[in-house]
Amino acid sequence: MSAEPIRMKTPAEEGFPAVFDAAAAGLPGTPDIAAARRAAIALVRDEGLPHRRIEAYHYTDLRALVRSVPPLAIFAADATGAALTDAATVIGFTNGRLTKTPEALPAGVILQSFVEAASAGSITLPTPAGLADSVSSLNTAFASDGAMLYVAPAGDAAAVIELQSAVVGGGQAHLAHRVTVAAGAKLLLIDRTSGPADTDYLASGSLTLVVEDGAEVTLVRLQREGDKATRFDRLDISLGEGSKIALHSVSLGAKLWRFEIGLSITGDDAEAQLFGAGLLQGRQHGDTTLFVDHAALRGTSKETFKSVATDEAKAVFQGKILVRPGAQKTDGKMMANALLLSERAEFMTKPELEIFADDVACGHGATCGEIDENHLFYLMARGVPKPVAEQLLIAAFVEEVFDDVPDEALKAALAAEVDGWLAGRAAG
């Protein structure tokens, strides 16, 4: 009989349970929720952090990448700002607490805070099964607030809501949001996270989005955490019959980030368009891990994820499409494209298809390349200097990700964020 050799825990593996033990009494929730939190942290306590031998973390070894764990962030005054578009109502969180409650919500929208819901026992937290669920484990253990939104139908125009999460000073901040979009309702949701530069802090967010029959949701994400931050995100979407989701995600910040998406198509004739871009520089490590579960008839899912990596940055894309037995006429297409701007930048991708229905159209593709020399020469031959020409071409590569954003101001704001990143890169 062979025994696992006793392994030394890393400071981060020691750190998470220690921070939890110190903070647990202050975290909101009923005894059931407290038990769920203890079960989640027990996983970290017993098994540590996921590493390269855990398939889901093969390219993102948290044991090696998470060096230390700060205490929970302390209360701070509201540090959230204006919305990306005037159309949006802002719900703001600072250091993991609700700090900005709107005076009025869009018609049809009901808001409850996570603290209220957890204290009333009206929600349950997910129970992670193993190391592959580490993002969920950490979020379940530490979630200190969030927005519980219910969106009822209210006319033709979509309700526009921006969730903002700011970190000031440092520490750890964890938010859990639940959004239910009722049958026939429309929502444009913006999820925006940021924090201080030059600060070693950690933030996580879980967003559970239930899109009921015939509802339509556009979700715009803008992640611009500070350059030394660690950011974990979990997005779970379930689609009811005839419903639609469009995701437009732009990730610019954090030294280390992982963005997990679980899309579950449970109703027939649902449509999902998922677009994401990760722009990585320095020694950033950005991981997008996607799982699309087709469990209904005639579901459509189109996923396009783009990575731009320069310096010594690493981009990871793992994507899996599962078509369950009986999910006939599924149309699933997954594409991962990477643009590498330096010799030492890396892109790692792992697409998977698992198909148990016989009348489906599913495909995946991946590309990885440099800026096209012919494109560059054409622009330069018209007098455009090389750095400007490169910026135009990189922006063109990324633009598809937010080209379909329905709000023009929001689209312009995302384009400006990308341009800012490009200008910073050219200057640096």
Binding site: A381, R382, G383, P385, A396
Partner: protein, 251 residues
Amino acid sequence: MLEIKNLHARIAEDGTEILNGIDLVVKPGEVHAIMGPNGSGKSTLSYVLSGKDDYEVTEGDILFNGESILELGPDERAAAGFFLAFQYPIEIPGVATMTFLKAAINAQRKARGESEITTPDFMRLVKETSAKLNISSDMLKRPLNVGFSGGEKKRNEIMQMALLQPKLCILDETDSGLDIDALKVVSEGVNALRSPDRAFIVITHYQRLLDHIVPDVVHVLSKGRIVKTGGPELALELEKNGYADFVDVAA
């Protein structure tokens, strides 16, 4: 204006020698046609003049207004007044035509120490210029050259030339892929730009283009060298007899 002296160039990657001692002087206001069979080095000459780094100059020099441009990048040459109308204009998905045009105009103005063009002036300029070349506003809304027909791409090249007002225009087989009507539109666009202080180098296989853009001087290029120089009548002679006579002279 342009003086090419004993220019030798090769493909950077594999060292294949393409240009083997070209001498050419182009004065302001002149139109020079360069003709020659496939593989004679015509397109290479246009790329070497424009500064494409796939090619290395191994000997000789290119002087523009008396100064060597060999050390200048393609963008700096463009700012100095060079313009290459591509044989195959590149499609660039995601880069809007108008964004590109404005970036190009402003980059050149900046390089010359001028202020940026205002948006109303830019819109007016593009509107006037595009109308003359039958370029629709729909084409201007599309990404650069994406989904354009061969003729539309060539008209787009000439529009850029008209907008940028270069000193030296190099037209690389601008007639290829054009039907008679498109050839006329493109030629008229080029002729409208002829002026005493602007010179043209027109590279072509066929005499046909030279009926519309009448050259002052015709050169025959073979195996990377100019083997014959004459007036417009030389083009007619080539059309009648083919290149064989001149290729033999070179050999």
